[in-house]
Symmetry: C2
Subunit: 83 residues, 2 copies
């Protein structure tokens, strides 16, 4: 089973990296991009012994305790069973 974890800055937090990319895109004539936000993406390969509920609990705990700085970041995730 695989877990896809997406960690992004909270909406209230300025994203200078995203703004830098957006400015670069404008200079490169990509006119249709209003905003860019950059975050981190993790793929966790979980042991198949875990059932969906256990995998959910494990991923949420890992995301909260290890992958995310709760002061400035938030996360979402998706479980991919059978992967």
């Amino acid at each position: 089973m695989k877990a896809h974890v997406y960690v992004t800055l909270k909406k209230t937090v300025l994203d200078p990296q995203g703004q830098t990319i957006q400015n670069a895109l404008k200079k490169m004539q990509y006119k249709a991009v209003n905003d860019v936000r950059q975050g981190k993406y993790f793929v966790l390969d979980l042991d198949n012994s875990l059932d969906a509920a256990a995998a959910k609990a494990e991923v949420e705990s890992i995301a909260k305790d290890v992958l995310t700085n709760p002061v400035i970041e938030e996360f979402s995730y998706k479980l991919e069973e059978g992967a």
Copy 2:
């Protein structure tokens, strides 16, 4: 319309950051994690004047030319219409 772009290292490329996280998880008694891969996650807020085909072409071009190092990275993306 929003585009979610996921940039990851190619499978053949060593991921020291992912391995460091995996080792840390083991020490923290998270036993069910066989592998961790880390990548970048971008959310592009696209102008609603673009139709799906134009958005697709724009995102693929941006991902290839700006967001990805084609030597070591690959990307996938998802369009979220009406966002």
